[in-house]
């Protein structure tokens, strides 16, 4: 007997005492927990996102659409970056004001190439206010998972309020499991040494989030 049949057989025998139960799954579990916590308005939800991001030591900035290119240029300069990875679908206007070497993430470029780059700028799929989380789903304006992992400085742009949800359950409603997802809450961190929190062991040590609001002209 192969191990698959062996294990499945053992499972069935192990459950011999359990009465048959054909309740459909959507009725088997009470989901009387909350879809979101609290009753915040749109602006307050964005405010909560900003607070929680900052609480987990992401650096939060706010600007309008029109200000974004200058904002990003300023942030890259302030970080001392000389090169930036650009996902294939990042709106070209975003980096139009930055005087910096752009590195496209090509299929043939190696991780060693990425390791040489200072920063990466991406959009996101959505952000979760209650937990201070941004979620990337590999869309064209976010690129492959590795580009937000290897460089030491990640700038993530979140459109507010469109891309902001309140809670984890609301995020799951919108996200597609068929895509590869990366949930990011603050920069890489460890508390392994005497529980002292240290930012950045393997992922980016600096996470900056720009909350961009429409200014009516976009």
């Amino acid at each position: 007997m192969n191990s698959r049949d062996l294990i499945l057989g053992r499972v069935r025998r192990a459950l011999a005492d359990v009465p048959r139960d054909d309740t459909p799954y959507d009725q088997a579990v009470d989901r009387d927990y909350l879809r979101e916590h609290g009753n915040l308005g749109v602006e307050e939800t964005v405010e909560l996102l900003a607070e929680n991001l900052a609480d987990y030591r992401a650096i939060v900035h706010r600007c309008t659409d029109a200000e974004l290119p200058a904002q990003l240029a300023g942030m890259l300069a302030a970080h001392g970056s000389t090169s930036v990875v650009v996902p294939p679908g990042l709106p070209p206007a975003w980096l139009s004001a930055a005087d910096i070497t752009r590195v496209e993430d090509r299929a043939e470029s190696t991780v060693y190439d990425l390791d040489e780059v200072d920063s990466v700028v991406t959009a996101c799929a959505l952000a979760i206010a209650e937990t201070g989380t941004i979620v990337l789903d590999g869309g064209p304006d976010q690129g492959r998972r590795r580009i937000t992992l290897v460089p030491d400085h990640h700038i993530c742009v979140v459109r507010v309020p469109d891309q902001v949800v309140s809670s984890v359950p609301q995020a799951f409603e919108l996200l597609d499991p068929a895509r590869v997802l990366t949930w990011i809450s603050g920069p890489s961190a460890t508390s392994d040494i005497e529980l002292d929190r240290v930012e950045g062991v393997h992922g980016p040590r600096t996470l900056e989030v720009v909350l961009v609001s429409g200014d009516g002209r976009a």
Binding site: R10, G132, G138, V168, P177, W183, I184, L195, V201
Partner: protein
């Protein structure tokens, strides 16, 4: 079973006794468990629907377990449809052999690993090493443990027993043996130590062709795997190599994508006391151009179906390995993780290891006694595992023997005889009851679990407790009475 048992490990009371006399260890543990405990309470208090989330988590897992055969088959189908390959391993040896063969097929002789209890349980690193394959642990704490030729002592913070000075010494001494040496003049500040680890490990991540991981969850409906972590070493292992091999216990399934909304709320808060852990990765089979293009899932049994066969004990399979129960356990706090002689320490280890491995060995027979039955572990458990209930059940099993399942076969266990079990039980019991405060810690729950508190200790403990009074558990503690009579909402099930 290779690697499952710590060879030469003394039974719990002896090991605990040794640990208790180690001052540094106790101070580190105390600091750590109290810090996490306090933070966790705050993180949980933020959620007004915690009781409902806990109940939903419990129900989801129970439902999954009672239909586990169906969900395993569904998971296999969906992972395969998404481009992955599924393997089944009945025990540790088989799982190790599958991984060895898979690594060999790639032609590589090293792998990078993200911390995984399952691979520790089966002793994968040792098995790979015996075949000439180097397995690099990439979690900072695991690196400390691996370089220190040591064993993890906590699920979440495996190097909790080491202080910064010891870590500096280990890095300075050992890093050059494994790759990039520690920087000259390395000090013991956590930031510098973390930087040394970053440089040392990055070299390995960038050249690695094979990654090995576990998973926190697997979604039957979609074939999605989930890894929850903090440092980014998980993302490195899951993203950069060409081949990814995930080794996961069969109990880690949830039926649907939506189910994750429960556990991604309860796990981080119970575990690191954060609203959300820094990184969570989910992947479904393979994705063109992003991440490993070859994905293998190794599903392991290794005692899980035997555990499932136990009507009382099967609830241990709900465990999501958050480690909250360790941090509140007065016995764990004093004894430390190593005393449990398995990769699963603390209260969960005390019920899981004897079920996965059987109670034939002295250490496994003594584990059900490694508790004061104070109930604090049950109170914090995000999937409401009634650990005290299972402990009492397993004590009975050890003392009186009875029916059990081993490797799929029904067996009748003989009562543990001889001085070993008796001594184990006696010393553990005396030790636990002899610590004032140990019982008080979870007094609220203690009376809930009152029916599990023996008037006298069972079996070997009887002679001893016959001449001494066990601390009485009040019928209803004050706080319960207050809540009941003053309209306090009772949220504990």
């Amino acid at each position: 079973m290779s690697g499952g048992t710590f060879v030469g490990m003394p039974a719990f009371p002896e090991a605990a006794h040794e640990a208790v006399s180690n001052k540094t260890l106790r101070a580190n543990l105390r600091h750590a468990t109290h810090t996490i405990r306090g933070k966790r309470a705050k993180a949980v208090a933020e959620m007004s629907d915690w009781a409902q989330l806990r109940e939903a988590g419990k129900r989801i897992k129970d439902h999954t377990l009672r239909h586990l055969d169906r969900y395993l088959v569904q998971l296999e189908e969906s992972v395969t449809a998404a481009g992955g390959v599924v393997h089944w391993a009945a025990d540790a040896d088989e799982a190790n052999q599958i991984v060895i063969d898979l690594v060999r097929m790639t032609g590589e002789s090293e792998v990078v690993k993200v911390k995984s209890m399952a691979t520790q349980e089966i002793g994968l690193n040792e098995a790979l090493e015996a075949e000439g394959i180097a397995a690099y642990e990439t979690d900072l704490a695991e690196l400390i443990v691996q370089l220190g030729k040591d064993r993890p002592s906590h699920i979440l913070v495996p190097a909790i027993h080491r202080n910064r000075g010891e870590i500096r010494d280990i890095f300075t001494r050992e890093m050059s043996e494994w790759g990039r040496p520690a920087p000259e003049g390395l000090t013991d500040t956590p930031a510098e130590l973390a930087e040394a680890a970053r440089l040392h490990l990055r070299e390995k991540f960038l050249r690695a062709k094979v990654g090995v991981s576990g998973a926190n969850f697997m979604v039957a409906e979609t074939g999605t795997l989930v890894v929850v972590e903090s440092e980014g070493n998980g993302r490195m292992c899951l993203t950069l190599p060409e081949t990814l091999i995930s080794v996961v216990g069969i109990e880690k399934i949830v039926p649907t994508w939506q189910d994750l909304e429960v556990f991604l709320q309860t796990l981080p808060r119970s575990s690191t006391a954060e609203r959300m852990n820094p990184y969570t990765s989910t992947w479904t089979g393979t994705t063109d151009g992003d991440g490993p293009q070859t994905f293998h899932l190794v599903l392991i049994d290794n005692g899980r179906t035997d555990t499932l066969a136990d009507e009382v004990g099967r609830q241990a399979l709900r465990c999501i390995r958050c480690s909250a129960c360790l941090n509140v356990c007065p016995v764990y706090e004093r004894a430390g993780g190593h005393a449990y002689g398995s990769v699963y320490p603390g209260p969960i280890g005390a019920i899981l290891s004897p079920q996965l491995r059987g109670t034939a060995s002295e250490i496994d027979a003594s584990l059900p006694y490694a508790s004061s039955l104070c109930g604090a572990c049950y109170e914090v458990c995000p999937v409401a595992i009634d650990i005290p209930e299972v402990l009492v059940h397993l004590r009975e099993r050890v003392v009186q023997g009875g029916p059990a399942t081993r490797e799929g076969n029904k067996v009748v266990l003989k009562p543990a005889k001889g001085h070993a079990a008796e001594r184990a039980a006696m010393r553990a019991a005396r030790w636990a009851f002899g610590h004032p405060g140990a019982l008080r810690t979870g007094q609220r729950l203690a009376s809930r679990t009152r029916r599990f508190h023996p008037r006298t200790l069972p079996g070997p403990g009887r002679a001893w407790s016959g001449t001494r009074d066990l601390p009485a558990v009040p019928a209803e503690p004050f706080r319960d009475w207050w809540q009941r009579t003053h309209g306090g909402k009772d949220t504990t099930k």
